[in-house]
Amino acid sequence: MDRDTRMRDLTDKPGGRKSQVKSTHKARSGRPRPMDSVLGKNMPSSSRNPMGAVRVPADALSIRGAAKGAISRLRRGGPQALSDRQGPGFPPGRPVRNRIISSWKEVLDSRYNTETRFLNLERLAADESLAQKGLRPFTEENANPKEASVVWKLAGALEPKPQTISLAHNKMTSGAALHVLAYYLPDLANLSLEGNQLTQWRELDAIQGRRNKLNNLRELILIGNPIRELEIKNNRAESYRSEITRRFPSLQMLDQEPITTISFNADVPEASTSTATPAVNTAPQSFFTKEMGPSFITGIDSSVVNEFLTRYLPLFDTQRGALLDVYHPSATFSFSANTAIPTRARIEGFHSSPSMPNQRKLDWTAWLQGGLGGSRNLSRLAGGLEKMTKTLHIGSVQIIEAMTNLPATRHEITSSPDRFCVDAWPIPHGEGMGLFVTLHGQFTEVPVEGVRSFDRSFILAPAPDDSRAKANGWSVIILSDQLNVRSYSSNEAWRPGYMRVQHGENIPTQPMSAWVESITPQARAQLEAVQAFVSVF
């Protein structure tokens, strides 16, 4: 109780009138997350003073900054409470506030190893110096979140910046004390929460907020927390690791074990390049320097691709079961729905066009939930590992079952080939060759006769002589198949010719070459195929 009073003393400043108005306005603006307004408004994040947290003298590491992290206080108190404790014009030298800050600063200094850049905040309750200073562990269940904000702000001002922080054995039950950690120490590399009482995923979400994230966290330790131990005990270690790595994508070590990762070259520190990098061309351009090209098939006879598609798609429309043989017994298939409304199509008015009267009847449910597992849009995938596994259909039998559960379709590839567009070329695969095929187009969703756009990607391989595919007249088999279904956009998007970047009156300096108009797309594709075959392979 007296602690509460003390904290109030710290912040109950007669803030300037101006700031009151401002903060009230902010708090009323309906922002759902008090943290956002708090952080955005008060933290030293403005470009005017990006280093504010570091540069300001210690006693100006005011609770002003810290008070901003008073999340629970804001929630309880609302705008009025907020305006009470804000304002740029705090007179310097608030004795109580300064005493708290300097006490915490002493604690941090005594627990910080500048050589290893390790801030040891373990077992705070057992630290008698805290009690002597009149401080209580900020990690305690009923601690005032302001206290935590003070600590993290001070920690963020340590020089050099801490790389490793341990909060082990503090009986923490929630992540509340870690809310602003990522704001003040965004580059933290190692964090130990060992031996605490964290039980819920949402406690970790408190650390990894929507706006402030530990994007460079390499190592995390949760050993001894129920959140981990229960999962391990229930044989859900894999799912546990998946939940953690999903939240902390940069993690390399979890609970002192390496995390299996696939790297990409850009992770590697910048290699010195001999040539100066040309800056990105920011000069305004009215047109793209390259035109939209027609279907591009190279390295193989385009009839292989065309025959496959003109046989596959009608069967997909009328008799999906008959596609069993064209899938490799271990093939993979998945579908995903991109439900976003395409801006250009909206402006063109396709959704309400009288010539497409059935667009309004389309409904995403069958694509989001059907097909034995639902859409596999990995950017939206809630449900973690289980959903991730369930929505990937492996093996020809399972694939056909899933496909049969999707809405009936009609791809008019033979009657309207211009509504489709293919890019395909051979790729090395295993010890042989495969074929990389991407198809864009549209289909009618038969039940309501509405039109959707789609993208489909196949990895194909030559059908082996003794395979059922070969026996049934397929020259290729499918190894992988991904279908992405989108709201309708016109095939005008890939009409060959020049493309504008911006609206403009000027005529392109190199107008679409006359020959492009005079020859058929097929002929041009073949011509390019020959040229590309020489240059690519």
């Binding site: 990762t261 695969h429 992405n484 609206h503 390019e528």
Partner: protein, 191 residues
């Protein structure tokens, strides 16, 4: 299940494989498009390709690291928004499991690699769908632009990648299966 391909024997994918592939694709698409939209795109993106990589941009072919640089040289600035992506380990090769460097015990990893000489962890098929704004978008349109003009508005793009492991890349950290690069990449504006 009998193998009917001429390619190498397949191994059943485990949920661990699927999780790893998904995480890799997630990291990849973040890295790819944030680099694309940055002023370091020329150096950053070209590192993700190899001289043998083949790519097409709206039906225009380019080859390898030089090809991507040539493409980027002529492109206005971009701002991508990924709306959906998906990823499969492509069957026909072994699963990742053999390549999991078992918890910082390098010896075990060596054995694993020795046993698997000549094979590779699986390639990945990644498809991405989203929107892209070029240049200044609608803000770059002249004042005379009609209100209903689509110019400068975001386009819908679809991009498919085949990612393959680079057997020559050194392992740089514990737990790393391999370094992957883009072997094939087909991008089109589709809306």
């Amino acid at each position: 299940m009998t193998t009917t391909t001429t390619t190498t024997t397949t191994t059943t994918l485990t949920s661990k494989d699927i999780e790893l592939a998904t995480r890799a694709a997630d990291n990849f698409q973040r890295l790819y498009y944030s680099t694309y939209d940055s002023d370091k795109r020329m150096d950053g993106l070209s590192k993700l390709y190899r001289p043998t990589s083949a790519l097409t941009w709206n039906g225009n072919p380019y080859q390898g690291t030089e090809g991507i640089r040539e493409l980027l040289k002529g492109l206005p600035t971009t701002k991508h928004e990924v709306q959906s992506f998906d990823c499969h380990p492509i069957p026909g090769q072994s699963s990742f499991s053999c390549f999991l460097l078992s918890n910082s015990i390098p010896k075990k990893a060596e054995i694993c690699f020795t046993q698997l000489i000549g094979t590779q962890p699986p390639s990945l098929l990644v498809t991405v769908s989203g929107t892209v704004i070029h240049g200044k978008g609608t803000a770059g349109n002249p004042a005379s632009t009609p209100a209903k003009s689509v110019e400068g508005q975001p386009r819908v793009f679809a991009q498919t990648f085949m990612l393959v492991p680079d057997p020559t890349a050194p392992q740089t950290k514990a737990g790393e299966v391999a370094t992957y690069y883009i072997n094939a990449d087909a991008m089109r504006f589709v809306g």
